[in-house]
C-alpha cells in the first residue's frame, strides 16, 4: 500500500469534507488544506528546492484543487490527487524558472529496494544530499522512496516512462552513495 492510500474511515471523513467543499464551503476546504498542507508543501519544497517557490506552488496546488474538486472521484485518494497536482505545478514552475532540459536517463532495470542506509544518518544530512541530486533523479526518489508511490505511479505523475523512472532512481541511489560515501541497500 502506498503512503497516500489511507484507511476507509479517513476517506469517508475526507469524502464528506470534499462534498461540502464542492458545494462551495470554504471552511470544509480549509480543513482539507490543514490536513494536507504539510505533505503538499514538503513535496513542493523537495521538487523545487526553493522555500518561496514551494509556498507559491502549495497555494497554486490548493487553488487548482478547489477549481477541479467537482472532477475529483471520492473513491480515489485525495492525498494522491493533491500530490499529482502539486507535482504538475512544481514541475511547471521549475521549468519556467530554469527551462534547461536535463538529459533523459537511459532505461535501466534493477532499481528496486527500500533505500536502506548502512549507517544511520541525520535527517538534515540526508535531506541536503537529496536536495543536491539532479532534478530528474530527485523527483523520482522523492515520489518513490519518500512518498511511497510505485514506479508506475511516480512515472505517471512525472510524465515519464516507467523504465526512465527506474533509471532515475538507480542514478539517485548511485549519486547518494557517492555523496554520502556509504552503501545504500
Amino acid at each position: 500500500m502506498s503512503y497516500a492510500q489511507v484507511g476507509d474511515s479517513r476517506v469517508d471523513w475526507e469524502g464528506a469534507l470534499v462534498q461540502r467543499a464542492c458545494a462551495g464551503d470554504s471552511r470544509a476546504f480549509e480543513r482539507l488544506y490543514r490536513e494536507h498542507a504539510g505533505k503538499v508543501y514538503g513535496l513542493c519544497l523537495r521538487l523545487t528546492r526553493d522555500a518561496h517557490l514551494a509556498e507559491d506552488c502549495t497555494q497554486d496546488t490548493f487553488i487548482n484543487a478547489w477549481k477541479a474538486l467537482p472532477q475529483f472521484q471520492t473513491r480515489s485518494s485525495l492525498s494522491t490527487w493533491l500530490h499529482r497536482i502539486a507535482v504538475n505545478v512544481s514541475l511547471g514552475r521549475r521549468r519556467k524558472a530554469s527551462p534547461v532540459m536535463e538529459p533523459p536517463a537511459e532505461d535501466e532495470e534493477g532499481s528496486g529496494g527500500g533505500f536502506l542506509l548502512e549507517t544511520p544518518l541525520e535527517v538534515r544530512e540526508l535531506e541536503t544530499a537529496i536536495g543536491a541530486l539532479p532534478d530528474g533523479a530527485r523527483d523520482a526518489l522523492v515520489l518513490h522512496a519518500l512518498y511511497g508511490y510505485s514506479h508506475g505511479e511516480a512515472a505517471e505523475m512525472l510524465g515519464i516512462a516507467e523504465g526512465t523512472c527506474k533509471a532515475q532512481l538507480h542514478r539517485a541511489r548511485k549519486l547518494l552513495r557517492e555523496r554520502l560515501n556509504m552503501e545504500i541497500n
Partner: protein, 196 residues
C-alpha cells in the same frame, strides 16, 4: 530546505514526509478562492514574455503608423509643395538612436523643455491641420496617430508596473519619437507656406 531535525534515520522512508510551511498559506488561498473571476485572472497574468512581445508589436505598429504618415505625406502632398527641402530634417529624426545605450540619451531628449514646447505647439494646432486635410488623408493620419497613442498608453502602463525595464523604456522613447515625427510631418504638410 530541511528542518532542524537532527535525529538519525536508517532509510529514506523514515524521513518526515510532511514539512510545515514557514507561514500560514491559507489566508492567501482563501483570498484567491473568494476573489471574483476577473481578480483571479489578474493574479495569474500572462507570462511577462507574452506581454512584452505584445508591447513590442504595439511599438512596431506605432512606428509603422508614423512611417505611413510620412510616406503618405511625402508622396501625396509634398511633391505639390516642394517637399525635397524637408528631407534632411526627416533624416535627422530617423537617425535618433534606438539602442539601449541610446535610450538614456533619448530619455533626456523627451524630457527636454524644447521638445515639450515643440510637442505642445504641434498638438495645439494638430486638430485644425487635420481638419484641413482631404478626407482620405485625414482618416489615415487620424488612424496612425491613434495607433501611436495606444502604443504609448500601453507602454506607460507596463512601465508603471515595471519601471526599471530598459526595453520598455526604449520602446516608449521610440514611440515618442515616432509621434513627434508624425506630428512634424502633419505640420509641414499642412504648412500654408508649403500649401497642402
Amino acid at each position: 530546505m530541511n528542518g532542524p531535525d537532527e535525529r538519525k534515520v536508517k532509510s529514506l522512508g523514515e524521513l518526515p514526509v510532511a514539512i510545515e510551511p514557514p507561514r500560514d498559506l491559507w489566508p492567501g488561498i482563501e483570498a484567491r478562492l473568494k476573489a471574483p473571476v476577473a481578480t483571479v485572472a489578474a493574479v495569474s497574468p500572462r507570462p511577462a514574455g507574452a506581454r512584452l512581445a505584445q508591447l513590442r508589436w504595439l511599438a512596431a505598429a506605432a512606428m509603422v503608423a508614423s512611417v505611413a504618415v510620412g510616406v503618405w505625406i511625402g508622396r501625396e502632398v509634398l511633391p505639390l509643395s516642394g517637399g525635397a527641402a524637408r528631407a534632411p530634417q526627416s533624416a535627422t529624426a530617423t537617425a535618433l538612436p534606438a539602442s539601449p545605450e541610446g535610450a538614456a540619451l533619448n530619455a533626456s531628449y523627451v524630457s527636454d523643455p524644447r521638445y515639450q514646447r515643440q510637442r505642445t505647439e504641434l498638438l495645439r494646432t494638430l486638430q485644425a491641420r487635420i481638419e484641413a486635410m482631404p478626407p482620405p488623408a485625414r482618416l489615415k493620419v487620424t488612424a496612425s496617430l491613434a495607433t501611436i497613442e495606444h502604443a504609448k498608453e500601453d507602454l506607460e502602463r507596463a512601465l508603471g508596473k515595471d519601471p526599471s525595464n530598459a526595453l520598455l523604456q526604449e520602446l516608449l522613447i521610440n514611440t515618442y519619437q515616432d509621434e513627434m515625427r508624425a506630428l512634424t510631418d502633419v505640420h509641414e504638410a499642412s504648412d500654408p507656406g508649403r500649401g497642402i
